[in-house]
Symmetry: C2
Amino acid sequence: MGGIFRSALALGLLLTCASAQAQQAPASSAETNPAALGWMEGAPPPEDRMVRQTDGSFYQFPRTRWAFSNMRSLFPTTNLWHGSGPPSPLPADLRDDLDDVTFLPIGSDKPMRWDEALRASYADAVLVLHRGKIVYERYFGVTGRHTPHMSFSMTKSYYGTLAAMLVEDGELDETKTVAHYIPELAESGFGDATVRQVLDMTTAIHYSEDYNDPKAEVFAFALAGGVFPRPPGYSGPDGYYAYLPTLGKDGEHGSQFTYKSVNTEVLGWIIARVTGQNPITVLQDRIWSQLGTEDDAYLLVDSHGTGWAAGGLNATLRDHARFGEMMRLGGNFNGKQIVPEAVVNRIREGASQADFAKAGYETLPGWSYRDQWWVSHNRNGAFAARGVHGQTIYIDPAAEMVIVRLASNPQAKNAYIDPVSLPAYEAIGSRLSSTE
Amino acid sequence: MGGIFRSALALGLLLTCASAQAQQAPASSAETNPAALGWMEGAPPPEDRMVRQTDGSFYQFPRTRWAFSNMRSLFPTTNLWHGSGPPSPLPADLRDDLDDVTFLPIGSDKPMRWDEALRASYADAVLVLHRGKIVYERYFGVTGRHTPHMSFSMTKSYYGTLAAMLVEDGELDETKTVAHYIPELAESGFGDATVRQVLDMTTAIHYSEDYNDPKAEVFAFALAGGVFPRPPGYSGPDGYYAYLPTLGKDGEHGSQFTYKSVNTEVLGWIIARVTGQNPITVLQDRIWSQLGTEDDAYLLVDSHGTGWAAGGLNATLRDHARFGEMMRLGGNFNGKQIVPEAVVNRIREGASQADFAKAGYETLPGWSYRDQWWVSHNRNGAFAARGVHGQTIYIDPAAEMVIVRLASNPQAKNAYIDPVSLPAYEAIGSRLSSTE
């Protein structure tokens, strides 16, 4: 990629992106409550309360705590219609005792309470479903029941499920190569990768997603998609589909799991080619509007109207919960089979734990990644959609539980967030299983 | 305003904006059907099928025929939530005979049919309510029942109604000056104008809205709001509230009606100051979510999160019809009094026809403009919300009729569109009144 925008990046973007990680002790959840800090309030808002896309401030903590619930006011987006008819019911049977649930964070000998964990994880909204009933629901800061919140990489699990549905229906052949479906990628590193390898992220692409590395390709990727502000004179690729062909290969496909968001953009492109439709429309028609969602969702789009498949979905807490509950129930929800049960079963089975282990995720021992879902292989069979800064749909089939957490943690990587989150989810599952 | 961007404007923007008017015989409605032309279709769309904000092509006919139904994929926007509960019922009693209604266009001796008129006006969606029932409903091109469509200056009537509600409630004093509410405008041309003069557009501001004049202030206005693409090195005002203080005075306030969109931006600013809320939120809470709307609407926003009060609302055909029907019924709709009846009555009474006549609207003899509504003073007491390129909510109390038309006419000015539209609406009203 050209050096023109790389140098501009160095000026500001990286500082922006890496600021959270660089801070040793970021301000607390209470200190950064976006409702109290008054971002974008006033007519006009004072300059020091502004949140902009054009200067990258939307991605600076603590402005992120406002921005992640207001992405559409900063970016072009495309709608996912909630569908006709009333929302599918989510009856409530609230349990105040869950705040008292305690657990040991990984690597700690100091017990922590569930409500403490929510503060520690900068939660913006949290919901727990047990047997389809809402047992816990909280909103914080500027995030309300009808506020779509940035999902980041949870988006991948929606696209992965969609692609797996196309495989199940026979519309997509997972043994075929990327080049078969996308001739534009034949000469790229993706050319000889199979659709299955893209789905499970076992492709070997020369692409780094390390936010702490100034040369990481993730920055060029975000500039091409218009997520990060482009410096004056930017002459790099315009749009995701313009960027993907520039990527080379780095090793052999199929040898190990390596988390690279560009796989999901390729998946979106494949969905587009196979269906002849915009993947956003396919997602809306086959999943979103089928769930009996309560609100519209939306996707950030690039200049070509291409949705950011790897991270651009924004949806409400309850609607994510509907998606999670549908997956828990083997695809059957809202009175219909929305996703074929075989698709859900294969996701729950997961992929090679050995291939996953090579990626070195210390907080995820024994896990695997299949169809863009994270699979725990623990005794409860938990699997999850996960996004940076603490986004999760955590599905625990044995505990008959779905947890959705939307957050604006100053840490991007879940590796820093999991030590609190994962034991907390397991403890909630245990409490629900033991007190029926 | 600085000459830096004025010169850049001359390069491209004006050609863009004025192209429709310059064309002697634009392509027909059928020839420019956006569904057939495939704008933004394909992965990625071919370059000659692209519609962008950044190069101004979204405002080039016939791309406008796609863009006006997809504004949110080109611009940052803020949501107007449809509210909880089911949509308010709009029962249907369709009448195919309305296509046969004929009328004489102004200045023509050749009768025209209603369905011909729709084609001639590049309609994207049309609905006729009679006594609250849908008697006619059509969607064309890429505009569907759940597609929010650009309203342009119909937005003003929503803001005007809202401001009039605040006057009625005593929250806003229409006899006070703009400077009283917005000190930032004290030194501008608006400073000594009253709120009433802003509401009725009888302010005397040095501002031209003539799209055919390269020096017209409307271009600087659109650049400040981010509607038109900013040339490289743009150093003009950023945001509507930054632009308004730059405007001077031109004559004396209160002497005549002069249509200047900036009045509505001032009105939005006043609503913000009086309520302490974003006017978009006020509009959502006091009107949009009260109507039993079926879908969310949205507003284009500038970099400060300020909605484009003069023209940025996008909503579906049926939801505009609900707003129109509420106004026809004196503010009472969906089982409640949404707008005080006194507010609606004063709008229907209109303002000074003499002041209006000075503006020289040949197609609107005897009309007036009050609270951002166009009032016909005809024997049926019709009044309307109107936007460029053919947007209308036309309310005919005597015929118990509301017509909503969303369109993408290559002509911006309604002066070119009215000769067909206004006699057509009157003829539909006559047919409905005579065949009960």
